[in-house]
């Protein structure tokens, strides 16, 4: 793996962000600015 190949690292970073925040942010789509209640998981 070429360490300086930032294209792949940036793609990996974006994927990690989508995994980490996607499920949470998806509940606000489309244009719903009210949170659900307590989420156990």
């Amino acid at each position: 793996v070429k360490l300086d190949n930032f294209k792949y690292w940036i793609i990996a970073a974006v994927i990690l962000i989508l995994i980490a925040y996607g499920p949470f942010l998806a509940q606000y789509l489309p244009g719903n600015f009210t949170s659900r209640g307590y989420n156990f998981f």
């Binding site: 990690l16 962000i17 009210t34």
Partner: protein, 324 residues
Amino acid sequence: VDAGLLGIAVEVVGLLIPWSLGLIPHSDPLLSRTLFWYSGHPIVYFWLLPAYVSWYVMIPRQAGGTLFSDPLTRVVFIMFLLLSIPTGFHHQYTDPGIGGGMKALHGVLTFGVFFPSMVTAFSVMYALEIGGRRRGGKGLVNWFLKLDWKNPALVAQILAMLTFTLGGITGLINASYNLNQAIHNTAWVPGHFHMTVGSAVTMSFMGIAFWLIPYLKRQELVGRGLALTSQWLYFVGVLVMARGLISGGLDGMPRRTEMLEAPYSKPSWELAGMLTGFGGPSCSSVAPSSSPSWWERSSSGRRPTRWTSPSPTPITHRRHPAGR
């Protein structure tokens, strides 16, 4: 940087400003907080990484040592690129509306981002040890004493890193899903970040300035003794203050609170408050004691100031002495 700032930009432009103008009926606190911490945690690295760059690039040269590994250094910064953003929920462990699984995932990733910091501690210590041994240090500890303790740029950064070890350890408590419950929103938290941004970064930046400003102005640094005194004063002061905040936090003392006015104050919080009160002014006193170091003084030679012992080795693209 842009990716990190995306969250707070969306929060302000998409929620707060339209809400303040009456364009949308309400905002959502949880969504706003999440977008804030999406940016809020990477912001930590906006100031930490310049200090890391100095630790990797300047410390080996100033200490007369050598960088442990060029590829490993690149791995460290790549890991920060990967893991600095998807960790924001560890600031929101007590927020309802976020599932425990998501919080746990962010907790795991937060522990992942601790790994490059551990690698940095090892690499920098390696550089310091090589430098100390080249100056005649022997044994397990003596090399540390042989470092150039008269160089304010180096001393500031060594003290910064020593403080940062405690800052990192307290950060692991913050990042732990369960232990965080004991110290959340207590004085522990400012105790932690005074040992990170309030010391590691602050002292590193002062150390960089002790070298960089005279170098750019081609003048000698005025008052090396004052510069050294300021860093030791800051080091001791911030540790005393953090000791107060940390112990108070463990005892339930809240943060962001005027404790002198709090009717629920506990007698056991008094020592924590006193330590914080003594340590804080000690840090503040650094400003008048360090700033004279940056004043101009005419230099007849007009040559850049050399603060370091001449480094016998380049600091990059050099194989490990063991041949790896």
